[in-house]
């Protein structure tokens, strides 16, 4: 059994706000291997972005406070690293893409400069990523051009001199992907990379991501609230609710045989051609208050199958099928009504 690329256990995070301290991550468990694209889905506020940021330790502490966290990257304990050691991993072993390509690029620096900067920073730790050239800068430049070609930016020689505002949204996101991958990371965390893009561009970006994974043998965490994206692109999926991973496993398993009541509700809510007018299925109730969360399963207040045992303690992840786990004391075993 090989060491997993990324292993998150027991991630408990509290965030201080005006109203009090919110227990935003309640024991997140996630395990990613190379070649896997994990979709991390859930509604807004369930903690998926925070999970991504926690891996790279990008959250300022305060207001964040880690109650407990065990995060290892190929066996290496990330929580034990000094800030300098962590900085050595960012961009080099862990790449990140954020949601809005408009605001995530430095407006006053040329694209080429931004790519070369990341490449040089990565090369300081691993000079082998640079192709042989007369100087490090020339090598970094060649690498940047190569990455731009890989992500599908036409005429990269000329585009290197452009500024971010001269690119379209889709192009900018490609640039961000190039920047995230130029350091040859092992793990890529993409936080809603297509949400701000047109549907047609979305498809292109997702295809690109899959190609990158195949090419560079990455592990990917794709954070999204769009189940369609997950079904198309991901190999595995983890469903989050109110700070917990409530179900996880291979994507076909979870989508065809959702075991957690919340997952089933999510699937049922997706309209299809056959959904009659007025037949949209929502879910009763609202997300719990994270400052005073329910003690046990956080979905219990909205769950039709909940019992006293559910309210007593958070259910652990238990196997449901091959690679398929669910955090529920009363999982559903039938197939989903539609797929």
């Amino acid at each position: 059994m090989t060491v997993p690329l990324l292993d998150i256990r027991n991630l408990h995070l509290a965030m201080r706000s005006f109203e009090g301290e919110a227990h935003v991550l309640n024991g997140v468990e996630l395990c990613v291997n190379r070649g896997e694209i994990w979709g991390l889905v859930g509604e807004s506020g369930c903690g998926k972005s925070l999970t991504g940021l926690s891996i790279s330790r990008l959250l300022p502490e305060p207001p964040a406070r880690y109650i407990s966290a065990e995060i290892t990257l190929e066996g290496r304990d990330l929580r034990a690293l000094s800030p300098r050691e962590m900085q050595a991993l960012r961009g080099k072993r862990i790449g990140m893409i954020f949601q809005d390509p408009t605001t995530n690029l430095n407006p006053t620096a040329r694209i080429g400069t931004q790519l070369v900067d990341v490449a040089l920073a990565a090369a300081r730790h691993d000079p082998t990523i640079l192709p042989p050239a007369r100087s490090r800068r020339a090598g970094a430049r060649a690498l940047a051009l190569d990455m731009m070609r890989q992500v599908g930016i036409p005429d990269p020689e000329a585009r290197m001199m452009s500024y971010p505002h001269e690119f379209s949204g889709g192009m900018r996101q490609r640039v961000l992907i190039a920047m995230a991958l130029i350091g040859r990371p092992d793990l890529l965390i993409a936080d809603e990379p297509t949400t701000a893009l047109d549907v047609s561009v979305q498809a292109q970006i997702l295809t690109l991501l899959k190609a990158m994974v195949a090419e560079h043998d990455l592990g990917v965490i794709l954070i999204t609230h769009n189940l369609g994206v997950v079904a198309q692109t991901c190999s595995h999926v983890a469903v989050m609710y109110a700070g917990n991973v409530v179900e996880r496993g291979p994507v076909r398993q979870v989508i065809e045989r959702p075991a957690h009541p919340y997952t089933r509700a999510l699937m049922a809510a997706i309209p299809t051609r056959d959904t009659p007018r007025g037949g949209l299925q929502g879910l009763e109730g609202t997300v719990p208050d994270l400052i005073q969360p329910p003690p046990g399963c956080r979905f219990a207040p909205r769950c039709t199958r909940a019992t006293e045992a559910c309210r007593a303690a958070v259910p652990p992840l238990t196997p449901q099928g091959p690679g398929h786990e669910v955090a529920c004391l009363h999982p559903v075993t039938e197939d989903a009504p539609h797929v």
Binding site: L58, Q87, G95, N106, T108, A180
Partner: protein
């Protein structure tokens, strides 16, 4: 880029015209006695009549304006009663000294203001930041001429570290005027001791003139740095592992400075205005001192001439800053 420059130059023309209109209005149309002011308090009736005819005060206003502008274009700014020379010649003689002082002050204000602003933003809300805020307000509140006086008292009269006034000691010959800037000319001709003493003379006036804009630039830079630090692209730069010094310069500083640059143009105008006061304190032979002496003798033409020249300088300085802004912030070039 070229079209940007040309467009900005074209927008200058109406401004320059407007400047002359305003100056003409002040010189000729304000209540007050233009003939009396131009002729001086000791003129005879005949001299006054001659001047009235020369000014063409019986002609329609727009014709008067026309003659005025025609005169300006030919370099005729009137004659100074005090120096008995054409004002234009006086202006040319005194301009370099003022420029040298203002540029030195600008260098100090920007060269110290921007880094200090960056630093206080990085150390925000700790005691050095709080202290610098109070000091900044103090610096802005300090009258330039009083500051100059205090500097003179302290460093020239009591400690005897710096020279009291003027551009050079009387015994030192100024270098051949290549640019008119004593400092640059001395450097260009290799006269290092002249350069040294000229710099010592320049220090206190430049300090007195620059303290207030320095403080304001520092505050502006601080607030724009804080705003930039909260932007998404800074988070991305960190997430992608850029080294800290690069994040500071290329990501944070570059974006924060472009916001501060717009204010610098305004402060150039403030500096130009302030030379009047500082030059008076330090006996600095520039436009400001020239205008002050003229006012005290009720000599009108030099004052108008100085106002016109300073207005022109301000317009050109703003143009340069606009162009520099276009260089740093590429989006502006297309507006």
């Amino acid at each position: 880029m070229i079209t940007f420059i040309l467009r900005r130059l074209l927008m200058l023309v109406p401004v320059l015209v407007g400047l002359t209109v305003i100056m003409f209005a002040i010189a000729r149309l304000l209540p007050g006695d233009p003939v009396g002011l131009a002729a001086g308090p000791n003129a005879t009736a005949a001299e006054r009549a001659a001047l009235a005819a020369e000014f063409g005060l019986d002609r329609p206003v727009w014709e008067q304006y026309g003659t005025y502008v025609a005169g300006l274009v030919q370099g005729d700014f009137g004659t100074s009663l005090l120096t008995r020379r054409p004002v234009a010649a006086d202006l040319a003689a005194y301009l370099p000294a003022t420029l040298e002082l203002v540029l030195a002050a600008m260098l100090l204000a920007v060269g110290l203001g921007i880094p200090l602003g960056l630093l206080t933003a990085l150390w925000r809300n700790r005691w050095p930041d709080y202290l610098s805020q109070v000091l900044a307000i103090g610096a802005i509140s300090m009258p330039r001429f009083f500051l100059g006086l205090l500097l003179q008292l302290c460093f020239a009269m009591w400690l005897n570290w710096l020279p009291l006034a003027g551009r050079l000691p009387i015994i030192v010959f100024p270098p051949d005027p290549i640019t008119g800037f004593i400092t640059i000319d001395a450097a260009l001709t290799g006269q290092w001791d002249v350069l040294r003493t000229a710099l010592l003379h320049l220090l206190m006036p430049a300090l007195a003139l620059s303290l207030s804009p320095l403080a304001t630039i520092m505050r502006m830079m601080r607030s724009s740095t804080i705003e930039v630090m909260g932007q998404d692209y800074v988070m991305t730069a960190r997430a992608l592992g850029l080294p800290r010094h690069l994040i500071l310069t290329r990501t944070i500083a570059r974006n924060a400075v472009s916001a501060t640059l717009t204010v610098i143009g305004l402060y150039f105008g403030w500096l130009l205005g302030g030379t009047v006061l500082v030059e008076t304190v330090f006996d600095w032979p520039g436009l400001g001192l020239y205008a002050t002496k003229a006012i005290l003798s009720q000599d009108m033409m030099p004052v108008i001439g100085v106002a016109l020249v300073i207005g022109l300088l301000f317009v050109f300085a703003n143009l340069l800053i606009d162009l520099a802004y276009g260089l740093i912030n590429p989006k502006v070039r297309y507006s």
